[in-house]
C-alpha cells in the first residue's frame, strides 16, 4: 500500500500543520492524541483540584498542596485523546465532470475533475490528521468505490489506496452515508464532507441532518468548478446532466444573470443549513489552491464562532 500519495498538497500541508485539524465539538476518542476528552484523568494539562476521597490513587495526590494547607487534594488533568477523522468523499457522476478551459471552451480530461480536486483535499487533510495522531477513515459515496465502501480506521495508507482506485459514477441516493459505511450512532467523530452537494431531492440534506443528530463535528467542503460557479460555458449547446442524463438545449447568452441568481440562492441555502446545524461550511473551487483556503478554514475553526461563512 502506498505510504505517500501524489494527491497531497505539500505546500498547503506545511501552511496548515501549525494550525492543526481541531474538532470544535466534543468528540469521542480512545487513545492519546491531540484532542481533549470529556472524562478527566491522567494528563499534562491541569483540569481541576478536588478533595481526596478514599480509593483515589495516592500518586495523584498533590503533596505540595498538602504541605501548604495540611489537607489532601487530588490533582486532575484533562486526558488528551485521539479522534477519528472521517472523510466522506462524494464520488458520484457529477464529480467526474472535467473543468472547462477559460473562455467557455470544452475542457478535456487534463483539465481535472472535481473528483481530482477532492482527492487532493482528502489526502492533505488525512496526512494532517494522521500527523497529529488522529485516525482517518474514508467513506466513498458513488458507484466507483472499488473494494467496497466500508472504511477501516487508522489506515492512512488504506485511504491513499482507496483514493487511487476511486472513479466517479452513480448518484448519492437515499441513505448514501449509511451505504458508505458511516457508523450511525456509535460515536461522535469529525466528519469532513467533500462534495458538490448536487442532490436530486434532499438526500444530502437528510444525511447531513443525521450527522448532526448523532453529534458529529461536520465540515462541509462544497466543491465547485470555476466554470460552473462563474458560468463560463459555451454560448449554445446541448447540455447533458452527468447524473440524470437529462438533455437541455440552452443558449447561454443573456441567461447569465438568471444562472448566477439561482446559484447564489442555492449556495446561501446550504450556508444557512450548515450554520443552523453547527457545521463548518467552506466553498471550494476546483482550480483553487488549498493554500488559499485551508489555513483560513483551520484558523476559523479555532475561533469560538460556530459554522462560518466564507
Amino acid at each position: 500500500m502506498p505510504q505517500r500519495s501524489r494527491f497531497v498538497d505539500a505546500r498547503a500541508l506545511g501552511r496548515a500543520r501549525p494550525l492543526g485539524l481541531t474538532a470544535r465539538r466534543v468528540v469521542d476518542g480512545y487513545l492519546a492524541g491531540h484532542h481533549g476528552s470529556p472524562q478527566p484523568g491522567e494528563g499534562v494539562e491541569l483540569l481541576q483540584f478536588r478533595a481526596y476521597e478514599p480509593g483515589d490513587d495516592l500518586r495523584r495526590v498533590d503533596w505540595r498542596a498538602y504541605a501548604r494547607s495540611d489537607r489532601f487534594f487530588v490533582r486532575e488533568s484533562e486526558v488528551e485523546r485521539d479522534i477519528v477523522v472521517r472523510f466522506v468523499l462524494d464520488a458520484t457522476a457529477s464529480m467526474g465532470v472535467a473543468e472547462f478551459a477559460s473562455g467557455g471552451q470544452r475542457g478535456d480530461a487534463a483539465a481535472g475533475t472535481k473528483l481530482d480536486a477532492a482527492r487532493g483535499i482528502v489526502a492533505t487533510l488525512g496526512v494532517l490528521a494522521d500527523r497529529q495522531g488522529d485516525r482517518v477513515a474514508l467513506h466513498v459515496i458513488g458507484d466507483g468505490a472499488r473494494g467496497g465502501r466500508a472504511a477501516r480506521l487508522g489506515g492512512l495508507s488504506m485511504v491513499f489506496s482507496q483514493l487511487e482506485s476511486i472513479t466517479a459514477g452513480g448518484r448519492w441516493g437515499d441513505r448514501g452515508l449509511a451505504r458508505a459505511g458511516l457508523p450511525p450512532r456509535r460515536r461522535r467523530d469529525l466528519v469532513v464532507v467533500v462534495s458538490d452537494l448536487y442532490q436530486e431531492a434532499d438526500e444530502i440534506e437528510t444525511d447531513l441532518g443525521r450527522l448532526a443528530a448523532v453529534g458529529h463535528d461536520v465540515v462541509v467542503l462544497h466543491l465547485l468548478h470555476r466554470s460552473e460557479y462563474e458560468f463560463l460555458l459555451p454560448e449554445e449547446g446541448v447540455f447533458r446532466d452527468a447524473e440524470t442524463g437529462e438533455l437541455r438545449v440552452v443558449s447561454t447568452s443573456g441567461l447569465r444573470a438568471e444562472y448566477l441568481a439561482r446559484r447564489d440562492t442555492e449556495l446561501a441555502a446550504w450556508q444557512r443549513l450548515c450554520q443552523r446545524r453547527g457545521f463548518t461550511y467552506q466553498r471550494v473551487l476546483s482550480d483553487e489552491s488549498m493554500v488559499d483556503w485551508l489555513p483560513r478554514l483551520l484558523q476559523r475553526r479555532r475561533t469560538p464562532s460556530r459554522g462560518g461563512l466564507r
Binding site: K114, E228, V238, R240, S251, L255
Partner: protein, 451 residues
C-alpha cells in the same frame, strides 16, 4: 388567367426545397453535447426534441428554401395565359367573299350584336367603310391578291388600341406562307365556303418508280389498299408555278400512261400562294383515288384533295429516327373531333428499322395548331417531334390536354368554333428569376451577419 409550365419536369426540382430543412435538422440533431455536473442552475429551456424542430436562423432558412423553390419554378418556365383584353374600339373587317354566302352574313350579324360599338369596314386596301346593311363590295375586288399586304396596311392605318376582327372565308386563312407581323391582336372569324373534307392518314410505301428530270423528281409510290385510294403520286417540285404545272402535267401523263383510272388537270392559277403554286381543280379530281402531295423546299408535304381551295391542309413529315413506337395509329384530335396530328408506323424498306410518320393537319393555318394529347408520353413525344418544326407554346396535358402551336400571328377563333386562345406571357418566369436573385442576395447578407 390560367397557368401552364413550359418545362414541367423541372417542377420535380422543387423538392430541393427540403434540402436546407434536412440539413438544418441534421445540424440541430447532432449539436455539440456538453456534459455538465448538473443542470440545477440552468434556466428552464425547451427540451432537446422541441429545440431540434425550432429553427435556429429562421430567416436564413426561409431565404434558402424560397430561393431553391423559385429557381426550380423559374426553370419550369411558367406561363400565364392572359385572355384577350377588351379594347376600346373594334374594327370588323369584312373580306368580300365571306359575305357572299348566307353563313357569312349571319356571322357578320352576330359580330355586330356582340360588338355593338364596332366599326365595320371592308377588308380591302384603305379599308373602306361598310354600310348599315350588307352592301355590295367595291368594284374589282373579287379577290385580293395580297391579303397579308392588306392586313399590314390596315394595321398601320388603324388607330392604336383598335382591335381588328377579320371576317373572312376559310380559303384566306388557309393560305400558306408566313403570317405578317402586325402591331395588334387580330381576331379571326372564318366562314367555311366548303364543307370540311374527310381525310385519312396513309402511310407511304416504297416508291415503285421514280421519274427524274434535270431539276425535279416525279415519283410514283404505291399505297396499300386503304379504302379506295390505292395509289398516291408524289410530286417534288420547287415553288415555281410554271415548273410546277409542267411537272404536274408530266405526272398526269405518266399516270395516265399506266392506265390508272384517274384524270387530273392543273387548276387555274387563282390562288396567290407564294410558295405553293399548284392548285388542283375540284372538278377534275376524282371522288376517290389519288392524293397529291407537294413537297416544298421547307421539307413539309402538303396535300390537297377534293376541293378547289384546301380547306384541309395537311403537313406530313417523316422522322427517320425511330423510337420504340407502339404499333398502330395514334391520332390527336382537335376539340371538335377533327384529327390534327397522326402518328403511324411505316414498315421498313428492306432491312432497317420502321419509320414513324407524323401527319400534321390544320384546317385553319399551317402556323397554328391546337392538339389534344392523349397522355403524358404522347404529349412529350409530340412535343419532341414538332418542337423544331413550328414555333410552339406547349400546354401540358391537363384537363383539356391541348398542345398549342403558336405562330407569329395566329387567329384566335377557328372556323370550327374553337374558343379564343389566351396569349401566353413570360412575366411569371421573369418574376421568378428576379425573386431568385433577390433571395440569393438576401441569403448572402444573412449568412454574413450570422458570421
Amino acid at each position: 388567367m390560367s397557368w401552364y409550365w413550359l418545362h414541367p419536369g423541372w417542377l420535380v426540382a422543387s423538392l430541393a426545397t427540403l434540402l436546407p430543412i434536412l440539413i438544418h435538422l441534421w445540424g440541430r440533431g447532432r449539436g455539440r453535447e456538453i456534459v455538465v455536473a448538473s443542470l440545477r442552475w440552468f434556466p428552464d429551456g425547451p427540451s432537446h426534441t422541441a429545440r431540434r424542430w425550432q429553427p435556429r436562423d429562421p430567416w436564413l432558412l426561409l431565404a434558402r428554401c424560397l430561393s431553391l423553390l423559385c429557381l426550380a419554378l423559374a426553370l419550369a418556365g411558367p406561363r400565364a395565359l392572359v385572355p384577350p383584353r377588351a379594347t376600346a374600339a373594334t374594327w370588323i373587317l369584312v373580306e368580300p367573299t365571306a359575305v357572299a354566302v348566307p353563313e357569312g352574313r349571319e356571322r357578320l350579324a352576330e359580330l355586330r350584336r356582340s360588338e355593338p360599338g364596332a366599326e365595320v369596314r371592308w377588308f380591302l386596301p384603305e379599308a373602306p367603310s361598310f354600310g348599315a346593311g350588307v352592301e355590295v363590295p367595291p368594284a374589282a375586288t373579287d379577290w385580293i391578291d395580297d391579303q397579308w399586304g392588306v392586313l399590314r396596311a390596315i394595321d398601320a392605318a388603324a388607330p392604336p388600341g383598335v382591335e381588328l376582327v377579320l371576317l373572312t372565308s376559310d380559303r384566306s386563312v388557309a393560305l400558306p406562307g408566313s403570317r405578317p407581323e402586325v402591331g395588334r391582336s387580330v381576331r379571326w372569324v372564318t366562314v367555311p365556303l366548303h364543307q370540311p373534307q374527310e381525310w385519312a392518314v396513309l402511310p407511304a410505301q416504297p416508291v415503285a418508280r421514280r421519274v427524274s428530270t434535270s431539276a425535279h423528281t416525279l415519283g410514283i409510290s404505291a399505297e396499300p389498299a386503304v379504302g379506295r385510294r390505292p395509289w398516291s403520286v408524289e410530286l417534288v417540285a420547287p415553288a415555281d408555278r410554271s415548273v410546277g404545272r409542267d411537272l404536274l402535267s408530266r405526272a398526269i401523263r405518266s399516270i395516265a400512261a399506266r392506265g390508272w383510272p384517274v384524270t387530273l388537270a392543273a387548276a387555274a392559277d387563282t390562288t396567290p400562294a407564294p410558295s405553293a403554286s399548284l392548285v388542283l381543280g375540284a372538278d377534275s379530281l376524282p371522288a376517290a383515288g389519288v392524293r397529291w402531295q407537294l413537297r416544298e423546299s421547307d421539307g413539309l408535304e402538303r396535300s390537297c384533295r377534293g376541293s378547289v381551295l384546301p380547306t384541309t391542309l395537311r403537313l406530313s413529315f417523316s422522322v427517320t429516327r425511330c423510337l420504340e413506337a407502339p404499333a398502330g395509329e395514334v391520332v390527336w384530335r382537335a376539340p371538335d373531333g377533327a384529327p390534327l396530328l397522326t402518328r403511324s408506323v411505316v414498315p421498313p424498306e428492306g432491312a432497317g428499322p420502321p419509320r414513324i410518320r407524323y401527319l400534321l393537319a390544320s384546317r385553319v393555318a399551317p402556323d397554328w395548331l391546337q392538339l389534344d394529347a392523349v397522355g403524358w408520353a404522347d404529349w412529350l413525344e409530340a412535343r419532341w417531334r414538332l418542337d423544331g418544326l413550328l414555333p410552339t407554346e406547349v400546354v401540358p396535358p391537363g384537363r383539356d390536354r391541348r398542345l398549342a402551336f403558336a405562330g407569329e400571328q395566329r387567329p384566335r377563333t377557328t372556323a370550327a368554333g374553337v374558343p379564343s386562345t389566351p396569349r401566353p406571357r413570360r412575366w411569371p418566369e421573369s418574376l421568378l428569376w428576379g425573386l431568385t436573385g433577390a433571395l440569393l442576395l438576401a441569403e448572402r447578407i444573412l449568412q454574413r451577419r450570422r458570421g
